[in-house]
Structures are given as C-alpha cells and as structure tokens.
Amino acid sequence: MSRKIIKSKTYLYDEKIETIAEVPEKELELLPLNKDLKIIGKKIPRVDAEEKVTGTAVYTFDKSFTNIAYGKTLRSPHPFAKIESIDTSKAEKLKGVLKILTYKNAPDIGWYGSYSKLLDQTVRYEGDEVAFIVAETEAIAEKAMSLIDVKYKELDFVTDTLEAIKDNAPKIYEDSNIPKTRGHAHYSRGNFEEGIKNADVVIERDYTTQVAIHNPTEPHGSVVKWEDDQLIVWDSTQGVFSIRDTIANSLNMPESKVRVIKEYMGGGFGAKLEAGKYSVMAAIASKEIKRPVKVILDRKAMNLAVGNRPDSHQKIKAGAKKDGTLTAMGLTNYGTMGAYPAGAGAHWPLRSLYKCDNIETNEYRVFTNTGRARPFRAPGHVQGTFALESILDDLAEKIDMDPLEFRIKNFTPIDQDSKRPYTSKKLIEAYKMGAKAINWESRKPAGASDGIVKRGLGFASQIWWGGGSPPAYATVKMNRDGSVQVLCGTQDLGTGTYTIISQITAEVLEIPIDTIDVLIGDTQATPYAPSSGGSTTAPSISPAVYDAALQMKAKLIASASAVLDIPGKELTYSNGKIFETKNESNSITNPKLIRKMRERVLIATGARNQNTDKYAINTFGVQFADVEVNTLTGKVKVNKIVAAHDIGRTLNRLTLENQFHGGIIMGLSFALMDERVIDEYTGKVLTTNYHDYKMPTIKETPEIEVIIVSENDPLVSATGVKGIGEPAMIPTPGAIANAVYNAIGVRINSLPITPDKILTALNSRG
C-alpha cells in the first residue's frame, strides 16, 4: 500500500508538536465495532502473564552476566553545596573497586540542558550525583562510597516553593528562581475582569497540592555491556529510542551503535521516560574496565533523584451568574521544578474543561533546592482538576444549584482555543450513567449526615489528550508455518501492549493468538514507535499494527490469486486460509501459500495515520466518590468510586479495567497519602522509603465500577482507540475532596487530605 509524507500536528499542553511523518496514502478501512469482532474488546488475559505469575520474567533488576560489575552513585547529602575537594584515593585502594568517576575525571557532558553536567562540581539538591563507583560487588561499592572524602562548601538553600520566590531567597542560579526564560506562562481569552464584573457571585480560594513521587516497585536501573564498539543497554524504561538518543549523544557515538533493550519493567508512571545519568556513567565505566556493569537505584535515590509531581500553589478566582453560567475564571499558580528545568504547570483543566469565555492564567515555574520534577501520570491535570472542581462545587453551592447541573450548564462541545468540535465528547452521558451508579440522588447537603462517621458524595470531571499521533510503525512477519512475529518500537510498562498487539494481529489475520509473537522495546530490531507516555501508546501503535496486519492479509490474497490463478476479487480470506468465494474447496492455507511462493518470511510494515485537522481529539470522563469520614479521628475511608469515561474503543476489557483501577488508586493515593516531606531546616527529604512514603494497600481499595460510554472514535484512527492511563487518574482526587466536603461540611483545600488536616479543620470550626 502506498504511503505519503505529511506534516502531522499533535497537541500536548501548549505545544503544537509538528512532525513530518510517513502515513498511509489512503484512509484505512475502519475496524468494525467490537460486537462484530472476535478478539478485540474481549477479556483476553495478558499474553505475558505466565512469566509474571511464575517469577520467570526477567527485569533489568534481575539481569546478570558472569563477569558483571556493580555501579553505585554517591549522592550529595546537602541541598546546595559546592564540592571543594574530593579525594577518592582511599576508596580506590579498596580491593574490588574497579573505577570511580567524579567531576574531575568524568567527560564533560552537559545535562539538564546547560544547567548541569553528568558530574558537576556544584550540587543543587539532596541526591544530586557526586561520584560513580564501580566494584566487584554492591557491598564493595557501598563500602567504597563511605571511603570517598568529599569536602563541601555548603551554600544557603531554599526548598520551599513560596519561600523561593521571595526577593531575599537564596538563588539557585544567578538568574532569579523564576527563570527569565519560560519561567512565567500567561494565557488569556476574553476579558477576565469584565467576566468577574458580570458575575452574580465571585469566590476566590487558595489550593495547594503536594510533591508526589512515582515510586514504581522496580527501581530505575540499567545493565550495560560493550560488544566491540557496540553498546547494549538493558534499561527499565518507557522509551527505548529516547534513551538511545540521549546515550549516543552523551557519548558522542553513532545512534546505530547503541542498542537499547527493554524487556520486562516494573512500572514507570512517567519517571522512566528519560535517560538517567546512571546509564551513561555505567557505559563510560564499563568501556574502561571492559566488563558489563549493572546499576540499580535504591529506594532512597528513587525518592530523591528520579522525578516527582511538582507541587502547586493555586489561587483561583471564579464568577458565575445565578443561572449557573460561568462568567470568568482566573488562576495564579506557583509550582516547583526542583533544581533543574522541568514542567510545573496546572492550568489546563481550568482553561479547557468547561465553557467559559473569560479566562486568565499566570503560572510560574520555580527553582528550589529539591529533586527535579518529571512527568507524572497526567502532569498538571491532577493538581489542576482538584482545584478547579473544588471551586466549582463551592460556586454551585453559592448559587444553590446541584453541582452536576452546574457542570452540564457549562458544557462545551468545542475546543475553546481552536474552535474545533471534539471528535467525540460523551460527557453528559457519562454524568448520567455515573450519577445513577453512585446513587447521586441520595446525596445530602454538606455536613448533613449524622453520627460520628459521616458519609458524603462528590465528583469531578476530566479532560486529557491521549489521541496519539504518527510517526509510529509496526512490522508483521509471517513465517512459512504461518506463525507471525510483530515488531514495534514501543514498550509494555505492564499496560498490556504485548497483549493488544497480539489481539489486533490475531483479529485481522484470523489466526490463533498463541501463534503470534511480539517483539517490542528493542531499538535495533524494531521499527520506530514513540515513548510510552501521555496515554498515547495504544492510540499511536494500534493503527500501525492494524495497517501492517491488513497489508499482510492483502499480500496473502494477492499471492494466492497468482498461485491459484483466480482474480483477487473472487477470493476470500478466512481463518488463515484463502479460498475461491464461490467454491470453498478451492483453497490454500497460509503456510502452503508461502511455501508455494518459495518465500520464507513475508513482511508488511504499517504506519499510524495522519490526525484530523477538523476536530480536536481529547478524552473525557467523570468520577464519583462515596466516602466516609470519622469525625472523632479524622480518618477518611473511600467506599466506592464510579468512573464513567469517553475514551474511544476498548481494546481489551481486562487491561482497560486494570488501567482504570490503577489510575484511580493512584488518584486516591494522591488525595489521601502520597507526600514528599522535606525538613525545612536541613533541606533533607524525610520520606525516602516506603515506610514514610505511604501508598495504598489492598485494604484501602474501595469498590470500583468502570463504565465506558464510548464504543469507538473513528475520527481519530481506523482503530478508534484513545488513551486511558492518565484519564483514569485525573478526576479521582477532586472527586474525593468534594465528597469529603459533602460529608463534613468543611473544605480541605490542600492535598493530601490527612486525618491531621480534617481533625484540625473540624476542631477549629468548633
């Protein structure tokens, strides 16, 4: 099938990302609805489950070679310091120490743009890299670490975001802590002041959200190995190509010589999208000592140095008319990037979720002496939605309107920036079905439930992108026995990528799913596919896999036509076999055909289609929470969450539910538990392990009901798939916060909502 080269636009945050991509010349035939399909949409257990339940799946954490050496990173104990001297001589003398890198002997490689180096003489947060030690065993490397004598000149530091913006605060760089370039982002439409004037009620509130750490169960890490001049890196990563390019660039070598492989990996949630210094340091050391090197971060490093969800300090002013029309919303927000540049905004939901003609937002990204932020499942949207949905509930209460009716009143069918209609926005349906499932009718006024344990209901909505985009490619190979291999440069983070690729291929080629083998996460073996972030994996790669499988089918039919000497039009493909439509006995199976063709492997490569220009592609949804609050102890228990979303086609009901459950529990965690705590006097993080950094266990898991209101989104792609990983988490904290308010009648405007805050709030009310 022919291809064309196009300019492709995708939207993510403020960026209208323009890529040049190769896409199918013609629109593909649309995949039928799930009810007419055999494998797609069904509850197919994941194809890699067996390795996981038997513990035979090998993670980077488990990878080993006979002569492997171990790397450890010495990290700064201070939030801000200059290394005055560093003496590694004692450590080097220790038996078993193979190599030590410090800023003195490490190659000069820029990191975080030009803000730092692979190993820098200035360290800007507790956890910043100081030295890299490679030794025969981890224990020796650790011992060596304690023998390195570093003299630091400690500098005045600031770890609190709102302190850092004060004039007299210590500066992390010469420039102010809000950098002159891209430190401030402004957005407006309509006239905010005018909108406020036209409102019947106006309220203004402050909201804060905490810094949260991804904390996947498998820590970050790499195993590196040189084979002549080729570097092989096994990495626990969300993006093999992005890792490859950073490593090749850092080491100044051809990308073709760096092979990045991701086999099994234990979760990422955004933290594993970019390359870590550890991979590059390990590669440098490995080359020198001529042995493979393994480096795995410990839990403390995980909590200090590999990213977080930045905090937010949001001031929102919003006005509405008595009839429920939102007239204006304004937001000022400060969020910390940490010590190096990163995203830290939260304004998108306020700007796009509801119809409002007058918007003004001012956001500031602030440097502090803390670990740098990284994308974390729906960056900005989780924080922003919590604040937005809290203030909207307050507004609704003020004008005495049911909060659900208030949202429906301010529904917008178009994207208010581009004025384009959405490909699909079944949010009203979602409201209706969700409200019914949670029994919204039974909701009482705030604080009206009696007894010590009070019950409340609340909800919040969600907007996200997640439409995917080109470029993304997949190759389907069919062998002579009819077995198939699908190659794609994507990753499976546990999300089920292996499974959905198998399903699509099995559906189109009508062959048993266990005759399909999927190879992903290997830069050397697979065609390109993007990193797995932004809920774009399934929407980007599913059309490419579908295209490749369709082409394979077309190729088989065309070949059969030649072999059987019957025009292709008169042939039917069914269950791995091609036959003459009017005479089924005149047939040939795939294996026989390929044998006849004297081919050994048939190949077809598919590409992701171009995105539409006429519509905006987004996902929508609502979540309702049913909670109870013990007013004696301040404990919150979430009884039930109902999630009703418009997310295009369901590829696999099991993996879909997994994503929703996981996202919702992560949202619950953000609402009630997750929190990095820093001691303001020492600048040190107090929550560096699972003991102090709490995440839910199975006992905190409420009942969860997932309702999908969409069947398909054919305007997006032939598969009609949109992403769900992030949409699943976005509304949960807002829904829980609103339910807590409904239960106790007191607002907690800062996350996480802990027993501490509830009890204090209840008590200060008297």
Binding site: E50, F660, M695, K699, T754, N763
Partner: protein, 466 residues
Amino acid sequence: MAQKINFILNNVELSVESATGKTLLDFIRKDAKLTGTKEGCCREGDCGACTVLIGEIINDELHYKSVNSCLYPIGKVNGKHVVTIEGINSDELTPVQHAYTEENASQCGFCTPGFIISTTGYLLKNDKPNIDSAINAVAGNVCRCTGYVSIKRALNDIVEEMKLYDNSDNVITELISKKYIPEYFSTIKERLKRLEIIELKESNKTLIVGGGTDLYVQREDDLKNEDLVFVSADAAEKIYKEGNSIFITGSTTFQELAHSDVIKELIPNIEEVNKLIASLPIRNSATIAGNIVNASPIADMTIILLTLNTALHLNDNRTVPLREFFLGYKTLAKSETEIIEKIEIQIPEGKTLFNFEKVSKRTHLDIASVNSAFIISLEDKKIVSCGLSIGGVAPIPLFLKETSAYLEGKDLDTETIKGALKIIDKEISPISDVRGSAEYKRLLAKQMFKSHFIKLFPDKISVEDL
C-alpha cells in the same frame, strides 16, 4: 564469621556456610541466584516483594508462614523449609497462578511473585478460606499498578474454588492433590526430620534478635556479617496460664499472641486489633518482646500491655515491671545482654472491658500517629479499676498513671471523663514529626480517650455530651 546452616530450599537440601545475620533475601537472590523473589528495594518489610514461606515442624506437624525475606536472618532458617516462587512452580500454572492470570491481577508483574507466595501461604495456613482473611494475607504486598481490584477478584476466585473442596485433615496433602503446591511438599516433613541441626554459635552477645523486624530496618549493616543471638522457643507452650498470671514467652510473635485463647479471654478482640498492626508476614515474625525492647513510643503491643499489670522476666532472674521499664527515649531498665525470657500479665480481678484505638496516615501497614489502649472494670456505675496508655505523645510508650488513678473510684459519667481529659493534657508531651504536629497529636489523644468510652459504653456516653 561463617558457620554451617542446614535447611531445605524449595526441593533441595542445602548446607550453607554463612554468617547467621545475612538476610535470607540476599542469600536467595545473590547466592542461590533465584531471581523470582523480588526486592521492592525497600528492604524494610514495607512492600512484600520479597515474601517467602518458612516451613517448620511444630508439635509434629509441618506449618508454613509467610515472612519478609529482607528482614529474615538466614540463621533463623536452620532446620527449616524455605519456599520461594520457584518452589511453587510446576509444569502447569497452579490454581493460584491461574486465577491471577485469568483476572489480569498482574500488570508490570514486579510485585506478582510476592502476591502469589502470600496467597499460597494463606492457603497453607487456612483450611477455611474466606475473602476477608485472604485479603488480609496480602495486605503487606504493595502494588503500584493494578489498583488491587483484579487481585481481589483473583482471591475471590481462589476462595470460592477452595470452598468446593472437602476439608481433609491435612492441608498439605489436600493442596498437593489440587496442584496448589508441587508433589515434593509431601516429602518435606520427613526430610526436615532427617536434617542435621547444628547448634549455631553467637559472635556478639548484644545482637539479640527476636523477629528482626526492627533490627534489620535499623541496622542491617551491623548484622549481616555477624552471628546473632536468637531468642529461643524452649517452652512447650508459648503462652500459658499459671496461677493468677498469663505468661508470654520471649519468642512469641504477634500472630501467636492474637490467636491465643488465653489472651482472648482477657482481650476478646485481639485478632481485630492485631490486624491494625503491620502486615501478616511482619506479624508472623515480630515478637512481643522485641516490640517492648525496641521501645518505640508508638509500639502497639507495648501500649496494650501497659494497661495491664505486666512484668518482664529477664534471663538473669531479674524481674522489671513494664511500667518501669522505659526510662527515657529508647533507654531501658535492662543491660545490653539481658534477654526477656517471659512476660507475665497479672489477670485483673472481675470483668474487664478493653478497647484499642490507632490512627495513622494509612489505616493498614502503618505506624500510628497516636495509639491508645484502655482497660476498665466497673461495678454498677463505679470504675473499680482501669488502665490507660497512649503512644506517640511522649518519648516513651506512655502509661497514664495519674489519669488512671484519677478515674479509679469515680462514677462513669461525662463529668468524670471531662475531668480526666484535663489530666491527660498535663500527662502527655507530644512533639511534631512526619506523623503529625504536636497539636494534632494532643487533640487526637483526647479524641481517642473519648472514643474508648463511646465504643465501650454506647448507651451511657455519647459524642454530643463530650
């Protein structure tokens, strides 16, 4: 300091040369190179990725329990059976593995072997499975991906399937026949009996280990190359009644305490209380004596025992009342080498009522911000005797001597409680830390005190009155 330790790892008899303080996890992953057992890189009992089963013969019966191998000294497996995920696997998936597969109860899968082991261990322990206790058994396994709902479904499938079976006398035979565990489990009991048990040497008399669940979190580096002192389980009965006292031996674990009929007479809801403490694999290891000696101001079992007249019997024949044991923050009325052999509780006279409260950021598997225990005995309306303790509000686990004394002899009414609240305010001195501000803890302590009465006397005391 290596010495010989004999045990069975899965289906293989091993004789390992090692310091007894090395963690079982390091042995399994690094020496035995079995990588199915994961390390959630917490190494402090908080993730459950490293869970393994320990089998031992007790009263001529083979019993299994789950433990966190990251906190388990290899010396403690001397003469025992260690089961990792590799020891569960056979040619086809076990019904547990099958249920996890069918319900998609695994995403990235890094936590999964830990869940499979916890679930299998649960079946080995319970002949009458039900969903609540099954959930409890995996409450020490953290999963950041699945949101647990699919895991609950898998547990439910497993429990339902188990209900279909007749309960035979022997769980192990039963589970083998249903292919939950491999055939070789049937030979373990005999093979354990044949193991040559070598008495372990001790290199450092101050390194006394009960369950290790505090020690390994606090100072693994000091332990891993040493030969430790293991608190032995010599007595035939771990918990027994003698005269007017209950005796708890030094190696008694939380789980053993919670299932003791003797204790249930005194604290009927001890099983429920126990579930609020740590996780099952921790409770399978953690000892009452260790909880006391660790002297954390919020130690749950210690807080409970403080309400009672409790005395500690040390190995040099000294006896110290528990209420006089804590001299200051982590300073004890005991030398570094003294071992608690027995804990004696005087059984209070008359009918007593007991209540325990605990508030933490996360309800389960979390250390309390504040906890409190209360025991009371009434005659008509009069408080005959009582004991109140509160944790997290002083440098030591605190018995509130004055408040308790104030309450005794008074009528049970709102006035009395209000009066006591004033004394509590004076007796406690909380400080701010990660688990809450000082003011919050003060508030919480008083709320808990009220809660004791509201829960124990719902007809007499209501929240509105207070």
